[in-house]
């Protein structure tokens, strides 16, 4: 577009201390306005990012405000395209962008970019009745035990067999498969979004290549590259809500499991993007960004994606259930008692890369919406029928896993959030696109010359500095969570700090 920063600013308006509006016209075809939640620091980062992009920015990466606005231009979108405080650059949709589409509008679309590649990447929190003082003396042993159980290999202890037939059942049944096979407790199902199973899932809509990527080599459910953290309660902000979750004192030990559908999700998303790009010309769908490839919800491509995406979602819940099972085994082994005796109950499980069909009030009327939550988390309020009975008075727990090694939070959903963001809040931390640092001219010319001898053209990226300080463009989880709290879209309940990390 070539507008100056000042010109761009004309389209942005601060509505409240914590919320900005992006007006129509900021990008072409906006159907609704955009909105984003920030505090004063995060606001600076959002605007700096926009200013940098007016000066060229970083190549093919759009600033958050532009991505939010491009999503607001998608057909069938309702109310607002919303950026949560941790919003940052992502493929298609920004990460931390929520958008809901009216299922009754034939123009409404579904977009894989609005879910993410790691479908149903999510977090669950398991409590224990142990205290930090119980764990500290056996920490090494415990970590070793977890390590032995979770990253599985031939002959290691935590073998959960999964053959092709099992995979199909897991794709269809989600947590119900884990329950049937004895890897989950009955109460786990209750304490999971969708009860751990998206009913519209259809394994036949998951391609053979996706299944191949999802089937671990020996048929054991390896946990791969996400992580489990042993955490202790560091602070309790809402005693009543915490008690309902079985958390009653600082120093109480919990385990947070963070993983998704990995390669299988990636393939499901990729397959859909390819199919939808082809269909967009036929269906005359125009988008501002090619990465926002999408399809009408009711079209074959749209339905295929939803059913496949739900299956991938189920697979991720099986992954998290399996890690939970192995974690319970590991703890039981070290403390020499059954995991029941350690009260290792699942507090809750949330997804932060998913799209769901939900009922919401829009302008006083009840509507059925397809809500895309990418890098954002559902946060239903007290009395919502879809949350477990133990949380009816306090609201749905929302688990915010910080970056591995930093602190995590448990929040609860609020009515205000339900009213303004369709019951959505943040998911973690983020980073704004910063101005290109002036990087020392490091001497790698010889390396470049040698590589160039091959006669193939080379594009060079600027080098990473060895000792990178925490970038100033960092949106840290505490700040993000506080902003959501101040904005009233979720409430802080508990803060946790990690004492050990098991990277699978």
């Amino acid at each position: 577009m070539g507008r100056s920063f000042d010109e761009e600013l004309q389209y942005l308006e601060r509505k409240t201390d914590y919320c900005w509006t992006i007006k129509k016209g900021f990008v072409p075809n906006m159907q609704v306005e955009g909105a984003f939640y920030v505090n004063s620091h995060l606001e600076k980062l959002m605007l700096e990012e926009l200013r940098n992009s007016c000066r060229g920015g970083i190549g093919g990466f759009l600033p958050g405000v532009k991505q939010i606005a491009n999503v607001a231009a998608l057909p069938g979108i309702v109310k607002n395209s919303i950026g949560l405080p941790d919003v940052h650059s992502g493929y298609g949709f920004a990460i931390g962008n929520m958008a809901a589409f009216d299922m009754d509008d034939p123009e409404s679309i579904v977009s894989p970019g609005g879910v993410g590649f790691d479908i149903n990447c999510g977090v669950r929190l398991i409590r224990t009745n142990l205290d930090e003082t119980d764990v500290t003396p056996v920490k090494e042993q415990l970590c070793q035990s977890l390590f032995d159980h979770i990253p599985v290999g031939v002959g290691s202890k935590g073998v959960i067999p999964m053959q092709a037939k099992d995979l199909n059942e897991a794709l269809e049944m989600g947590v119900d498969w884990s329950l049937r096979e004895g890897y989950a407790w009955a109460e786990d199902k209750e304490h999971c979004e969708e009860y751990g199973r998206l009913l519209q899932a259809d394994p036949s809509k998951v391609s053979a290549k996706a299944k191949k990527r999802g089937l671990p080599q020996l048929g054991t459910l390896g946990a791969g590259n996400h992580y489990a953290e042993i955490q202790v309660v560091d602070e309790i902000f809402d005693k009543h809500a915490a008690n309902k979750m079985g958390i009653d004192h600082k120093g109480q030990v919990c385990v947070m499991v963070h993983c998704g559908s990995r390669g299988l999700g990636h393939q499901v998303a990729t397959d859909a993007l390819v199919a939808m790009e082809k269909a967009m010309a036929r269906d005359k769908i125009i988008v501002n960004d090619r990465q926002l490839a999408c399809a009408h919800i009711k079209s074959a491509e749209g339905q295929d994606y939803l059913k496949g995406m739900f299956a991938a979602g189920n697979y991720a819940w099986v992954n998290r259930s399996s890690m939970t099972f192995l974690t319970r085994q590991a703890f039981g082994k070290v403390f020499n008692c059954p995991p029941d005796d350690l009260d290792m109950q699942l507090i809750y499980d949330v997804s932060h890369n998913i799209a769901k069909v939900e009922e919401h009030m829009v302008n006083g009327k009840q509507k059925t919406l397809l809500v895309h939550r990418k890098g954002s988390t559902r946060a239903f309020p007290p009395h919502h029928p879809l949350i477990p009975v133990d949380y009816q008075l306090t609201g749905q727990p929302v688990l915010i896993g910080g970056t591995m090694g930093t602190c995590s939070y448990v929040l609860t959903g609020t009515q205000h959030g339900m009213d303004t963001t369709f019951g959505t809040t943040c998911h973690g931390a983020g980073r704004a696109l910063s101005r290109a640092k002036s990087r020392r001219n490091l001497d790698y010319q010889e390396v470049l010359d040698k590589l160039a001898e091959k006669g193939i053209s080379i594009r060079v990226a600027s080098p990473k500095l060895v000792m990178e300080e925490a970038p100033e463009s960092y949106k840290d989880v505490t700040e993000v969570v506080n902003t959501c709290h101040e904005a009233g879209i979720s409430k802080k309940a508990i803060k946790l700090r990690p004492i050990a990390v098991i990277k699978g």
């Binding site: 970083i58 190549g59 093919g60 990466f61 650059s89 992502g90 493929y91 990460i95 590649f117 790691d118 990447c121 970590c143 032995d148 290999g153 031939v154 002959g155 092709a164 191949k212 089937l215 671990p216 080599q217 020996l218 048929g219 390896g222 791969g224 990995r262 390669g263 990636h266 990729t270 993007l273 090619r290 990465q291 890369n353 890098g375 980073r431 696109l433 910063s434 490091l442 790698y444 010889e446 390396v447 470049l448 010359d449 040698k450 590589l451 001898e453 091959k454 006669g455 193939i456 053209s457 080379i458 594009r459 060079v460 990226a461 600027s462 990473k464 500095l465 060895v466 990178e468 970038p471």
Partner: protein
């Protein structure tokens, strides 16, 4: 010929009839492919009888498997005695003997001791042996396993200078680890490590290699390791085997004092070896004070170099002797041809995995190629086991011919994790643009910091084909996904590697 008298229980146990209900799986070879195969059979079918026939008294054991990504794993390799391995794996029988003959029609093998053992399915995992140049010269040693590595260590102890011939993984690491000894490295390529690196990566490593301080210890060990196995019981033959840390238990130090000079001879081979009587001393390259060396190497580039001994790390030859009398076929590199379900083509019920086999009969894959590495030996051993069991069950249930087990995704994406020169190295896909004939639309993306990291990505028409990741980049899982996704990344250009962008998060 090695032979061990089977005690009467073992003999009785083995003289069973291999039948449909009580299948017997025999694995020939106790290397990485062999143990991976045997252990996988045991894990999938605990009631099946599994036998490893090993000519070596040492069995390789894979430990501390760390799954880095879906296709990428790192692990340690130990060598354990047969007794210690048996103690750890009571359900796997081990026979210390050679296999003299295979009768694939009647399904039995004949061992060196003359025992006939019937099998239901057989997997040949006999590996490959080092190719030793001038092998009858007593001053040349080959290096491939613990025994030869220990011999090297012994000889090195009294040496001031040695010549290393070869440009593969062992040669690279050996040159780096040797202390107090001058080295002449003779390679027939233009750059070091060519099979692993492109010339840019070689150049990246050169200063690290040449400037290595005597007591540097760059090795970052995994935080949580399984204990060393029972293999460390006193009195048993053990030691670091050839995995990434193969040199850990060796001193690799010579007599040349604190200096260590590395002289690299590019695009050269050893033409001939001469004794001090035979050599023309006027031709000798005078780089040291010593005037008389035990052996002299005359190179194809004319140089004549004296040294204490020569190490030949010049590649491997598959051990296919046991199959040559059978109607199977062999590819150019000497490996026995297998189909996509690990079956030896031309035979029934016989499989092969690891260095002994060759995948030339497989459909060409866009992001995978065979390389004789321990990671592939393990993957092949495991997959062969899955196929053997699956095919056996199919015959049991349906009496139809073997049906196909779909290949694991690890054969769709080449992935290898190792360490060179103290740095973590990960190779993915077509990391050197191997086999990409059409160079239109081919492009490299590069990000490097001297001494710290080197990232090179191969792009073809905007799609990632492969990557070399040196240093702790944390990009392997993302890049594995991007290669397998095959999505168009051209809109990002080199910003894909921009350190100001969290690319992992972007594609989450």
């Amino acid at each position: 010929m090695i032979c061990r008298t089977l005690d009467r229980f073992e003999t009785a146990a083995l003289k069973f009839t291999a039948s449909m209900e009580n299948p017997v799986f025999i694995v020939v070879g106790g290397g990485i492919a062999g143990v991976s195969c045997a252990e996988t059979i045991n894990a999938l079918e605990p009631s099946a009888k599994v036998v490893i026939i090993s000519v070596s008294p040492l069995i390789k054991a894979v430990r501390n498997v760390q799954e880095l990504t879906r296709t990428l794993a790192s692990f340690d390799v130990d060598e354990t005695s047969i007794k210690d391995y048996s103690d750890l794996h009571p359900n796997i029988s081990i026979i210390h003997d050679i296999v003299k003959e295979i009768d694939s029609g009647e399904k039995f093998v004949v061992t060196g001791c003359g025992e006939t053992l019937k099998y239901t399915k057989l997997c040949v995992c006999t590996g490959a042996r080092q190719n030793v140049i001038f092998s009858d010269n007593k001053h040349v040693i080959g290096i491939r396993d613990t025994a030869s590595a220990k011999e090297l260590d012994r000889k090195l102890h009294n040496a001031e200078r040695l010549v290393v011939v070869g440009n593969g993984g062992i040669a690279i690491e050996l040159i780096f680890q040797i202390e107090c000894c001058n080295v002449v490295w003779v390679i027939k390529d233009k750059a070091i490590g060519q099979v692993f690196f492109d010339p840019g990566a070689s150049q990246f490593f050169l200063p690290i290699l040449l400037n290595k301080k005597t007591d540097s210890s760059d090795m970052k060990r995994m935080t949580y390791k399984l204990e060393q196995s029972a293999a460390t019981k006193a009195g048993h033959v053990t030691g670091g085997a050839l995995g990434p840390d193969w040199h850990q238990n060796l001193q690799l130090a010579g007599q040349a004092g604190q200096t260590k000079e590395i002289n690299i001879q590019y695009q050269a081979e050893v033409e001939t070896l001469l004794s001090s009587d035979q050599v023309d001393h006027s031709e000798v390259d005078r780089k040291s004070n010593k005037s008389l060396w035990p052996v002299y190497a005359k190179l194809t580039n004319g140089k004549v170099l004296g040294c204490d001994f020569i190490v030949s790390a010049t590649g491997v030859v598959p051990n296919t002797e046991v199959l040559t009398q059978l109607p199977c076929s062999f590819s150019e590199d000497g490996g026995v041809r297998i189909d996509e379900n690990m079956r030896v083509t031309g035979l029934c019920g016989v499989y092969a995995a690891g260095d002994v086999c060759s995948t030339t009969a497989w459909q060409k894959k866009p992001h995978w190629h065979q390389m004789r590495l321990w990671t592939q030996a393990r993957q092949m051993g495991m997959f062969a086991a899955q196929c053997m069991i699956s095919h056996h069950k199919n015959i049991q249930t349906s009496n139809s011919s073997d049906c196909e087990t779909p290949q694991d995704i690890c054969f769709d994406l080449f992935a290898h994790a190792t360490r060179f020169f103290g740095k973590r190295v990960i190779l993915l896909g077509r990391y050197n643009a191997q086999g990409i004939e059409d160079s239109q639309g081919l492009e490299f993306l590069l990000r490097t910091t001297p001494g710290e990291e080197y990232i090179k990505v191969v792009m073809l028409n905007g799609r990632m084909q492969g990557a070399v990741l040196i240093g702790e980049t944390d990009l392997e899982e993302t890049f594995e996904n991007l290669i397998l996704n095959e999505i168009d990344l051209s809109m990002l250009g080199e910003d894909l590697l921009n350190p100001d962008v969290d690319i992992t998060d972007y594609f989450d």
